[in-house]
């Protein structure tokens, strides 16, 4: 199939070739951009002038006169620029301010979060007071007022003390649990582990039954599907072992 190239590429191809020959890449880029601009500008500009412009492209750019700007427009532009700059600065400042403010709020909130609830704090502050009061009341038992106060506070105090929990450090508890586990593991290993020569309850209970005149059914029945994998492994091992034995018995004959 033949793809018809667009017209424009047909036209630009020689230029590009020329440029390639020249070996200047920058030029080619500029050229292409120029071309695009020209393409865009094509409807406005004179189509006849195009080949000429193409020819002395560099000269045209160099010779272009500085744009004429009136003073008023320049001033307006400058003012605009200045205003924009000021605005940007102010906005930056405001942003910074806001950021700071937000951070401040976060800090305070964090601080609040770290603190215990107000009720607990209150009680904590009252708790040592009761102790002091108690000791002081012990010192001067005659003071009725003090005793009254103490009673009041004692009433408040047990409300918190009589909780159903006990405080402990989790780190220690973990260690205790770990050691306890190790100790239990030791016991288990030495009493019920490998080499401890244990039997199953079922076998143990069947001992008496075997010697009885009237045979009874076993106490616990065994499900045949239990230990399938182990049974298969044992079968495989037996096969291998027999095979090995066979080989070993054959060997002296060969040698």
């Amino acid at each position: 199939m033949v793809n018809l190239r667009p017209r424009r590429s047909c036209r630009t191809l020689p230029v590009r070739l020329v440029v390639d020959q020249g070996g200047d890449e920058e030029d080619s880029e500029r050229e292409s951009s120029e071309e695009e601009r020209q393409d865009v500008e094509f409807p406005d500009g004179d189509p006849v002038a195009e080949p000429m412009a193409d020819e002395n492209e560099d000269e045209v750019e160099d010779d272009e006169a500085p744009e004429e700007v009136t003073f008023a427009s320049a001033q307006a532009e400058a003012k605009e620029d200045e205003r924009r700059l000021r605005d940007a600065l102010r906005r930056d400042k405001e942003l910074l301010k806001e950021k700071r403010k937000r951070r401040e709020e976060l800090f305070t909130e964090q601080k609040k979060r770290k603190l215990l609830p107000a009720t607990i704090l209150e009680e904590l502050t009252t708790a040592p007071q009761t102790k002091i009061n108690e000791s002081s009341s012990e010192l001067k038992k005659g003071n009725v007022e003090n005793e009254n106060k103490e009673k009041k506070e004692e009433k408040m105090f047990p409300k918190r003390v009589k909780k159903r929990y006990m405080a402990c450090r989790l780190k220690d508890q973990d260690l205790i649990d770990l050691r306890q586990q190790a100790a239990k593991g030791f016991l288990q290993k030495y009493l019920y582990g490998r080499g401890s020569n244990r039997t199953t309850v079922n076998k143990f209970l069947s001992l008496n039954n075997k010697r009885l005149l009237v045979k009874k059914p076993a106490v616990q029945f065994v499900n045949n599907s239990w230990g399938m994998e182990r049974k298969q492994n044992a079968k495989k091992f037996k096969k291998q072992w027999m095979h090995k034995k066979k080989l070993a018995s054959r060997r002296p004959n060969i040698i």
Binding site: I176, Y190, L191, G195, T199, F204, Q220
Partner: protein, 766 residues
């Protein structure tokens, strides 16, 4: 039931498979488990006449689990025992917890027993080995050592690294002290009782001084390599022998240094893979150290020179425990095979100057490992994984050959674990970790004597209530109408309101309990379920009125004369006017509930009370004591009744007095005021007060023989005690209504089937 019938009624394998396919219980929430009614016994309805009523009895399948049995005894032929339908319940799946330590106290002749779950029990050997006191277990407390110090103070230590002292009067834990050496494996008090030595996981031996109200760390002795598994003081209190893995060391208690180290022989048969663990040591006053180890040896060492003197290879399995008599002329060791061996010091020369340790007697009373042994002056005591506590008297030490010299095997607790709501036919089973509520089956059939009746409705497991927190349940009760359930742990009290609508059960916890209800030793509901009586700590007794959805505290009875002893048993009269409370060792006090004041005290008796009940109408209080005496006390008249005086004058039958389990429950027949129904673990008895008392010449257990005898003979030989031994081991028996009894049995084989694996032994002919 004939034996042939029994054999024929055994279920086939098909029934078992159907049982295995039983759907798992519905789990509704973390705390409660309700079981859907009706789906529980699916697939078991098609059975023949004899075996319809099979229920669920753990792994083992036994016919007649929740069966109704027409225990139809002909009234005349029986001499008036009566005719009852019996619900024979075998679905109480209770497994006693294995024993870890036993410790004997010479001063008070008491025995402390600790179990694997942290339960500690005190047995009074002088009072017929009755289990007097009981501290419920705790998940965090794996007790490994138990000892008495300073007279009668009890300490325990465990793998959580704490030493605990128990308050034997208030029935609570006094305090716990951290040993700071990791898990504690062994503990022993010095001969004077003022120091405790503990052997820790990290190899240190620590001495604690026992002061009147606490213990304090005094010194840490030289640290050894490996955990200290056993420990023994020299009778002079100067040295300590410790056993660890592969060695025994002798430490100086004063300076704390190691004076001698004896290495175990590593060439024992069978020990190639495993190291030699010294499970027990005993230090004798002549400087001999006796060790028991995992190689199955009992070895005698000279602690001066560190040499091996004597070796006794006992078994191929571990020798786990050792105890020496106070006189040091005999010692006992317990092995993992369940055998205990008695060693005696026997003069080897005729002039008696030289003597030698000789292995004399083996005893096989256990099926599983004997984890702990003790030596009382007259008996060998052993306890192990199979949960039997065996007290084996030494015949050469017993002076009077009476019934005290007989072997005793204690398996079941001497307190009630079951309560019954008679009208609703509900049973509440108390396990250490949970409660179970069951509804009994029902039958429409009628039969003649000894028939097994088919069930028209099977027994249903209505509810399982799991305890919260690490503490085990210490007591529980269901109200007679079945609408309240209460239970208590060592620190919390729980009350639940039950609601039964056709085929469904709902449960609601009563959340607003008064503050003083923090724990209870005994709970009881009144006959009309309107009142709750709670025996709380320090001997106080609370009377609480139960209203729909709320409680009203009416009164608290404080213990008299400043004693703070805990109350062990409660009984209320059916009309709700009288309340009797028995202390752990003090007497029975009676309170008037109408006027809320103490009424009187029953005259003191030396032996602890094992069961208590107040008869309807007459308000006679029947008290059973641990020495098997039964008293009847008239509450309105404040004196013993004439019948009770007659019994005391006449004396009870010698076979009655020789029973070795206490009476745990007493009840009365509503229509026959002369009858008292009571039971222990091995018999059920109806005492007919109108009949003559038996003397020692008449046979006590003559029910079966009298049935076949002629009218004349029957009349001549009938006596007041009608005893049935058909239901064994009997944990609970109660009268549901006039003609129906419920009996809860727990066969020993079912328990063995759920224990840890035993040691393999070769038996001839198997």
């Amino acid at each position: 039931m004939a034996a042939a019938e029994r054999g024929a009624s055994r279920p086939t394998g098909d029934n078992r498979t159907s049982r295995r396919r039983r759907p798992p219980p519905l789990t509704l929430s973390a705390h409660f488990r309700l079981r859907g009614v009706g789906d529980y016994f699916r697939g078991q309805s098609a059975r023949t006449w004899c075996e319809v009523e099979a229920g669920w009895g753990g792994e083992r399948t036994i016919v007649r689990d929740a069966g109704l049995e027409a225990g139809a005894r002909n009234p005349e032929a029986d001499g008036g025992m009566g005719e009852f339908k019996v619900h024979r319940v075998r679905f109480f799946n209770y497994v006693p917890v294995g024993i870890r330590c036993v410790a004997y106290n010479h001063q008070s002749n008491r025995l402390a027993v600790s179990r694997v779950d942290g339960t500690v029990e005190i047995y009074n050997l002088a009072a017929n080995s009755f289990q007097e006191k009981f501290f419920p277990g705790h998940e965090g407390r794996a007790t490994e050592a138990l000892c008495w110090a300073k007279g009668q103070r009890l300490f325990s230590a465990g793998l959580n690294g704490d030493i605990i002292e128990y308050d034997l009067e208030k029935m609570s834990v006094k305090y716990s002290v951290d040993g700071f050496g990791g898990p504690i494996w062994s503990m022993a008090a010095d001969p004077s009782g003022s120091y405790l030595a503990i052997g820790c996981e990290d190899g240190s031996v620590k001495l604690f001084q026992v002061s009147p109200d606490k213990i304090q760390l005094e010194r840490t002795l030289e640290r050894q390599k490996g955990r200290i598994l056993s420990l023994s003081w020299h009778p002079s209190g100067t040295h300590i022998a410790v056993g660890s893995i592969d060695y025994i060391a002798v430490l100086d208690a004063k300076s704390g240094s190691t004076t001698q180290k004896m290495l175990m022989d590593k060439r024992h048969p069978g020990s190639q893979r495993r190291r030699c663990v010294v499970w027990g040591v005993a230090f004798l006053s002549d400087g001999t150290v006796v060790s028991t180890d995992s190689a199955g040896m009992v070895q005698f060492w000279d602690s001066e020179t560190g040499t091996l003197v004597q070796t006794h290879p006992l078994t191929s399995s571990d020798v786990l425990s050792i105890a020496v008599a106070e006189k040091e002329d005999s010692l006992v060791v317990g092995t993992a095979e369940g055998t205990i061996f008695h060693f005696q010091l026997i003069p080897s020369r005729s002039d008696g100057k030289q003597s030698q340790w000789v292995r004399t007697k083996p005893f096989q009373h256990h099926t599983h490992d004997v984890r702990s042994v003790a030596h009382s002056p007259t008996a060998l005591i052993s306890g192990g994984v199979d949960a039997h506590l065996v007290i084996r008297p030494l015949m050469e030490k017993v002076e009077v050959k009476n019934y005290d010299a007989a072997l005793r095997k204690i398996t079941f607790p001497h307190r009630r674990l079951i309560s019954c709501a008679k009208k609703m036919q509900l049973l509440l089973f108390q396990f250490p970790q949970r409660l179970e509520l069951w509804r009994l089956g029902a039958t429409d059939a009628a039969g003649k004597n000894e028939d097994i009746l088919p069930l028209s409705r099977n027994a249903e497991h209505l509810l399982q209530l799991k305890k919260k927190g690490p503490e085990n349940i210490c007591c529980s009760c269901i109200s007679p109408c079945g609408s309240w359930i209460a239970y208590s742990t060592a620190s919390r009290f729980y009350l639940y309101r039950m609601n039964y609508e056709n085929n469904s059960v709902s449960i609601k916890r009563v959340s607003k309990l008064p503050k003083f209800l923090s724990s209870a030793f005994q709970i009881l509901f009144s006959g009309d379920s309107a009142m709750l009586y709670v025996a709380s700590n320090q001997g106080s007794l609370h009377v609480i009125q139960l209203l729909e959805g709320s409680l009203k505290h009416l009164h608290t009875f404080q213990p008299q004369s400043g004693t703070s002893e805990a109350i062990s048993l409660l009984a209320v009269s059916p009309d709700g006017n009288w309340l009797a409370a028995a202390g752990m060792s003090s007497g029975v006090s009676i309170y008037n509930l109408k006027h809320l004041k103490p009424h009187c005290m029953v005259p003191a008796y030396n032996f602890p009370v094992t069961a208590l009940a107040i008869a309807p109408n007459t308000n006679n209080l029947v008290i059973a004591h641990s020495d098997q005496q039964v008293f009847e006390f008239s509450i309105p008249q404040k004196q013993y009744t004439d019948w009770s005086r007659k019994v005391q004058k006449h004396g009870l039958h010698y076979l009655w007095l020789e029973r070795d389990t206490p009476i745990t429950h007493i009840t009365f027949h509503p229509k026959r005021p002369t009858h008292i129904l009571l039971h222990d673990t091995y018999m059920f008895c109806i005492i007919d007060k109108s009949m003559p008392l038996p003397d020692d010449k008449t046979p006590l257990f003559n029910q079966l023989s009298l049935r076949e005898a002629s009218e004349n003979v029957r009349r001549r030989h009938a006596h007041a005690f009608k005893i049935s031994k058909k239901f064994q081991p009997l944990l609970f028996m109660d009268l549901l209504d006039e003609g129906t009894l419920v009996a809860v049995e727990r066969p020993l084989e079912d328990i063995i089937a759920q224990l840890p694996p035993p040691i393999k032994r070769k038996k001839f002919g198997t």
